[in-house]
């Protein structure tokens, strides 16, 4: 027995029901609009390449927040649920931050016998990925064998 005035219903929590068709439809409309904005923004050149990534992620985060607050009821729930979710995101950020710092600071301090990284980021040559002339320095020969002309890549 659905009523239009949802305040008269009780749920197991004894609380008034939150949300409702109007609220949810509005949220959906906002989400769809943000999706269109995301697509539009990706077509625009903002100058630096990372700007597009950042903007796309910001809009995605806004959409995610809206879904979490209204569709997932975090706005109406007790704080514990939101705290669980927020702390997850915090630790995920941590998980990304450290290796990012590591990877970007590997060459900050170079020892005098530094020969360069073991791998080269792709330099744009149009070759196949695996087992071919990938522009990487050859591996040293295994101990006890004769050194090869090119470090043999065996797959």
């Amino acid at each position: 027995m659905s009523q239009h005035t949802h305040d008269s219903h009780s749920s197991p929590s004894g609380h008034h029901l939150h949300g409702g068709p109007k609220v949810y439809a509005t949220v959906l409309a906002i989400l769809l609009a943000l999706t269109l904005i995301t697509i539009g923004a990706s077509k625009v050149d903002f100058g630096s390449p990372s700007a597009n990534v950042v903007i796309a992620l910001i809009i995605a985060t806004i959409k995610a927040t809206i879904v979490a607050l209204w569709f997932m009821h975090l706005k109406y729930d007790k704080p514990i649920n939101g705290m669980i979710f927020a702390s997850t995101l915090f630790f995920l950020a941590l998980f990304f931050a450290y290796p990012y710092i590591d990877a970007n600071s590997r060459t900050d301090v170079k020892p005098s016998n530094w020969k360069g990284p073991a791998y080269m980021p792709d330099s744009g040559s149009a070759v196949r990925g695996i087992g071919a002339n990938f522009p990487v320095r050859p591996l040293p020969p295994p101990p006890g064998s004769k050194p090869a002309e090119h470090g043999a890549e065996k797959h």
């Binding site: 998980f95 450290y98 791998y119 591996l139």
Partner: protein, 557 residues
């Protein structure tokens, strides 16, 4: 409902009552046990499983130490040796120590301590056990199919390129991770929603705080282990290019992924051990816990800071100096809450009425051994020192002091402490304490030798070594025999007590004040008659302990 009396603090040895229907005897068919959702039965099944794996992996360790008596091959070639230490580590970490205290003791004790009838999700609890069994079978299959020699840490590029059932072992770890996650979810929800009336957060026993902090780590860290295992298998099978330098990937990234879980994992291992010690010390000092809030908050702090320090396993990996410096600094932070706990435990014992029975002997062993282990961790946390000590026996000794001298000692102490509650039968105190001494002496002989040779440069995971290290290896091996004997003796003493016909332990042989002692030993299936209400703090020794109240049982009023 019960009036404070003076009689119920006495043990009931000698006045053994007739057996009552309890969780062990009620509905005692095989099918009932295999489909049980009773947290107590599941706790016992976990206990049996983890202890079996402990002894299997322990036997592997004895074999390793036997081979290391001489630098030459004695009975194991080097390839087999590599497999044996890998399996020792993998079984001990994933099949024994991670589940041990939470799944075995935690499952049994937590609801009783909270005055609840079960954990929040009993069926999830049963699922967790079967997932554990599945993972165990997969790991055993990997062993039977030839075993794995990558070390339990599975570092790339070796693990992604070597032959052998590495993928199967990785998937076993993935599955076992879910068992741990389910347990963690269960315990967090239980502590939030199933506390007895009157039991606020700061009336919780400290065991609950420790298990709660552990459960938080289990939920947040273990999924990353899962995805790490998946990525490793993908790299092996499909060469996706994330960890292989030849394909543009980064092998050190694997170590970031791996240790993001595995460092918090060591706090999954130690926090429950500390939680047990926080129960034993006040009970056996007959004194309230000094600095209750400090210990409670330190548990949660350790859980939190533990997520920030994983790179201290990677100082020599090729990680950048900046990242290493950040990790080293934060590593020193994480030592502080552990230190706080030790001081508070000591302050609790000070001027207490010390009861020197077996659980307390294990607790005091813990204090000494964990202090040594923790302090040696500080050496390893300093980058300049770690350069020399990384991958030596110093590291091996350090983590055995904290994991074995810490968690395992606490676990065994906890088993002795709650044994009368679980089974209603008391073990032979004299033999149990002798076993504790043997374990303590054997442990130190085994691992002090390893500190010494490690600091002199003996590398870990080596099947052979230079002659100058042989005397340490011989000492360590002899210690391992003493240790093994002591552990087997401890197990034997406990199991022998089960052969008694009557429940002679009494409901509260130690006179503790936490709620699990307010029900009969062994408990009825539904733990309590009605809903118990909190009457006093968990370490309040100014009042008499609340007697168990089971209508129709041995006690009245």
């Amino acid at each position: 409902m019960a009036n404070a009396t003076t009689t119920t603090t006495q043990t009931r040895i000698g006045t053994a009552p007739p057996p009552h229907l309890n969780y062990l005897t009620e509905n005692n068919t095989l099918k009932a046990w295999l489909t049980t959702v009773d947290h107590k039965r599941l706790g016992l099944m976990y206990l049996g499983a983890v202890m079996s794996f402990f002894f299997i992996a322990g036997a592997l360790a004895l074999l390793l130490r036997l081979e290391l008596l001489t630098p030459k091959q004695d009975f194991m070639d080097s390839a087999t040796y590599n497999k044996v230490f890998t399996l020792h580590g993998a079984i001990m970490v994933f099949l024994f120590i991670i589940p041990s205290v939470p799944a075995a003791l935690g499952n049994f004790v937590l609801p009783l301590m909270l005055g609840a009838k079960d954990v929040a999700f009993p069926r999830l609890n049963l699922a967790s056990f079967y997932v554990y069994c599945t993972g165990a079978v997969m790991a055993l299959a990997a062993i039977i199919l030839g075993g794995v020699d990558t070390g339990w840490t599975f570092y790339t590029p070796y693990s992604t390129t070597t032959d052998g059932p590495v993928g199967l072992m990785a998937m076993a770890v993935f599955v076992l991770g879910f068992s741990s996650i389910f347990t963690g979810i269960n315990f967090v929800a239980t502590v939030h929603k199933l506390r007895a009336p009157g039991m606020g957060w700061f009336q919780l026993p400290l065991f609950v705080w420790g298990i709660y902090a552990t459960a938080l780590i289990q939920v947040l860290a273990t999924p990353v282990l899962g995805i790490t295992a998946v990525l490793m298998v993908m790299e092996r099978a499909f060469h996706i290019g994330i960890f292989d330098a030849r394909l543009g990937g980064d092998p050190v990234l694997f170590q970031h992924f791996f240790w993001f879980y595995s460092h918090p994992a060591v706090y999954i291992m130690i926090l429950p051990g500390m939680a047990i010690i926080s129960e034993i010390i006040p009970a056996f000092s007959k004194k309230t816990m000094f600095g209750y809030r400090a210990i409670a908050f330190s548990s949660v702090s350790i859980a939190f800071i533990g997520f920030l320090v994983w790179g201290h396993h990677m100082f020599t990996s090729g990680q950048s100096d900046l990242a290493s410096a950040i990790f080293a600094f934060l590593t020193y932070l994480v030592a502080i809450p552990s230190g706080i706990k030790i001081w508070n435990w000591l302050a609790t014992m000070y001027q207490g009425s010390i009861d020197m029975r077996t659980p307390m002997l294990y607790a005091m062993s813990f204090l000494i051994l964990f202090a040594i282990g923790g302090l040696t961790g500080l050496y390893l946390g300093a980058i300049s020192v770690d350069i020399h000590l990384h991958d030596t026996y110093f590291v091996v000794a350090h983590f055995h002091y904290v994991m074995m001298g810490g968690t395992v000692i606490a676990f065994i102490g906890g088993i002795h402490y709650w044994w009368p509650k679980m089974f209603g039968k008391m073990y032979n105190e004299r033999l149990a304490s002798i076993a504790c001494w043997i374990v303590f002496i054997g442990f130190n002989v085994t691992f002090l030798n390893q500190f010494m040779m490690g600091s002199q440069g003996m590398p870990r995971r080596y099947w052979t070594y230079l002659p100058e290290f042989q005397k340490y290896h011989i000492g360590s091996t002899i210690g391992s025999w003493i240790l093994g004997f002591g552990l087997v003796m401890a197990a034997g003493v406990l199991l022998a007590s089960l052969r008694k016909k009557e429940y002679d332990a009494g409901d509260n042989p130690w006179g503790s004040r936490t709620m699990e002692w307010e029900t009969i030993s062994p408990p009825i299936t539904h733990n309590f008659e009605g809903q118990p209400v909190l009457r006093h703090g968990p370490y309040d020794f100014r009042v008499e302990p609340t007697p168990a109240t089971v209508a129709g049982g041995r006690h009245s009023g």
